[in-house]
Symmetry: none
Subunit: 204 residues, 4 copies
């Protein structure tokens, strides 16, 4: 019986988006598994069953949240990568872009951080693994170019450096609150300063 059961993509995409934002907030706060659909529905001011008018399942909400976030993230990243800047400028632009995404999709990023690793093995979430591979490649390439150009230090293990930069940026989602005292660009600036030049005072 191949008739599409649920609307999947119903008319009003605004309601859908509202509900997904609510869900993302709860997933981020309590963890995906610990979040019941009843909690989501509570936050949305409706009954649990009513969510199923809009979505197929709890998992499909999760998928849509992550997919939407990654789509936007990559549209930003691709713009940076296509600009073919020098390695240091590329790194700066990627980090800045990342903090902007954290600012815009804080909940989705937090979910991603916590759940991506064990989700990626499921076929449904294969796109997470694909994104991770693409991500790794972009960063490693940038770092390698930077080492060649003598922008970045040659004495460091490059995979270790990649992980360092990657994690350093994204874990910020776990404490970042939009509308705080620092703009994403300001945070990016300070992070970049630390990552690039270190926190120690330079001997003159």
């Amino acid at each position: 019986m191949p008739t599409k059961k649920k609307p999947q993509v119903t008319a009003s995409p605004e309601r859908r988006r509202e509900l997904l934002d609510t869900a993302a907030e709860v997933f981020a706060a309590q963890g995906y598994n610990a979040t019941t659909v009843r909690k989501i529905a509570d936050h949305a001011g409706m009954l649990a069953g009513s969510l199923y008018y809009h979505f197929d399942s709890k998992e499909s909400m999760l998928e849509e949240i992550l997919r939407t976030f990654l789509d936007e993230l990559w549209s930003g990243y691709d713009a940076v990568l296509d600009a073919e800047l020098g390695p240091r400028e590329t790194l700066e632009a990627l980090v800045t872009e990342s903090f902007r995404e954290i600012d815009r999709h804080r909940a989705a990023v937090a979910i991603y951080q916590k759940e991506a690793k064990h989700l990626a093995v499921q076929e449904r979430f294969e796109f997470l693994a694909a994104s991770q591979r693409k991500f790794e490649k972009a960063w490693l390439t940038t770092l390698e170019r930077g080492v060649e150009d003598r922008n970045f230090r040659a004495d460091l293990d490059i995979r270790l450096t990649y992980r360092f930069v990657r994690d350093t940026v994204w874990v910020a989602a776990s404490w970042y609150r939009p509308g705080g005292q620092h703009s994403p660009e300001e945070i990016a600036r300070q992070y970049l300063s630390m990552v690039l030049d270190g926190i120690a005072v330079r001997p003159t």
Copy 2:
């Protein structure tokens, strides 16, 4: 009729430890909530119900895992702090100690990373919040001393720097595999080099 409670501390503490190690491994791999006691029992070669001879509950296993880890962590940290080294040496010692703990308690650290934030609000896990406060104080103090001594840069937001250093170290638990090519000390050395001096090549 003595106490009604479960044995809590049964005969052999080794069996207990074995079971907790098994549980930690599974919690780390799949997340606490997604881990059923059945899975733990499977890994331990017994039936779910049998675990209750050794432990009060799934939650008490989690508590014991985290408590044991934090106890050991703090015995290391306290030794460092009591030595009253200079701020830079203190930072180096704390980071090195942290990587040693990751090496020894990888599973517990991974669990801690993923679950601590939402657990800390429960009374039972108040010790997590306490540890976090103590942790924050130790680091902030060290950083402040370092800024005063002109060991560390004065132009950075100190809380941001604290988070940077803290996260930078602990997220390593998410990818670290004991017995790999790098010893914890070697990883610590490289991380410290990045954190202190940055990844950019210094102008000479």
Copy 3:
């Protein structure tokens, strides 16, 4: 404010009939319980809620389908019984009439076969039980008359024979497809031949 009830009998009775035919088809194919009002609405090209403009409930659709079928069936049967034919001719006429009904109301007959027994206990479907009683009486009387007249064999258990004839005819609804190679009259002829004379070759 007139009656609070739903329109029950709305404007066009043709639309009603169309929808009932659709519903009957789906009920017959999937079973009443396994059929959702959504599936019916899908087949009718409308949304589930819209059906409630035409009908009170899913159950009332079922009731109307069965009632309509039985009304027509009995108008045929009554004509036969009122003709006061001999027992053998009555049996032949009843069987032929039955196959005509199967031809005309295949879906309703199939539903009846599958659901009548457990529905009949509900007050709402008392008419099913009533029909069954009337049905049984008509058949038993006919068979008894036939035995008296020496049209039918006297050595058979009469209730067993009744069930044999009854079931033999009606289960045909489960495989019969209108518009096939055999007309209902032809099928009736062959069934009657088997029922009356058996499938074995007669010794001459």
Copy 4:
């Protein structure tokens, strides 16, 4: 995670059998879809969840009920077919065997009658379709041999005859109650008499 979740085939097969018998009774009485696992559990004197210690799902209970029944049925049928009797004796033996199975597995047979058709399309219940094909072949062959040997009438549509005989026997499950006044053998005898020689009195 390929670890077998549920015992599937646990130790005590008696308990399993008891529960399946209970389930079969309820399925037969109310229909599979209309039967809730709670009802089954009620009849078994336990809670709904407890059934899942013994079975994977409601559907797996249904499967096991039908499979067990068909296995036994075919062990009887195969014995008959392997005996290579004449067509009339084969028919008699198959019908008698069928009534014995109805006697032994009344509930399973009733379920089979009601649900087989729409279940057979699911992959899980492919064995139903396979059985039906085998069944059809056995009967058609027997009937054809009988026509050749001039045991059975040549003037009847053979597929129609097949359906007639098949249905005639199996619908008996819908009214048969074990322990009634007729033994299965006696019912078989009367049915055979009707099927073979008809219900009409023979002209002498």
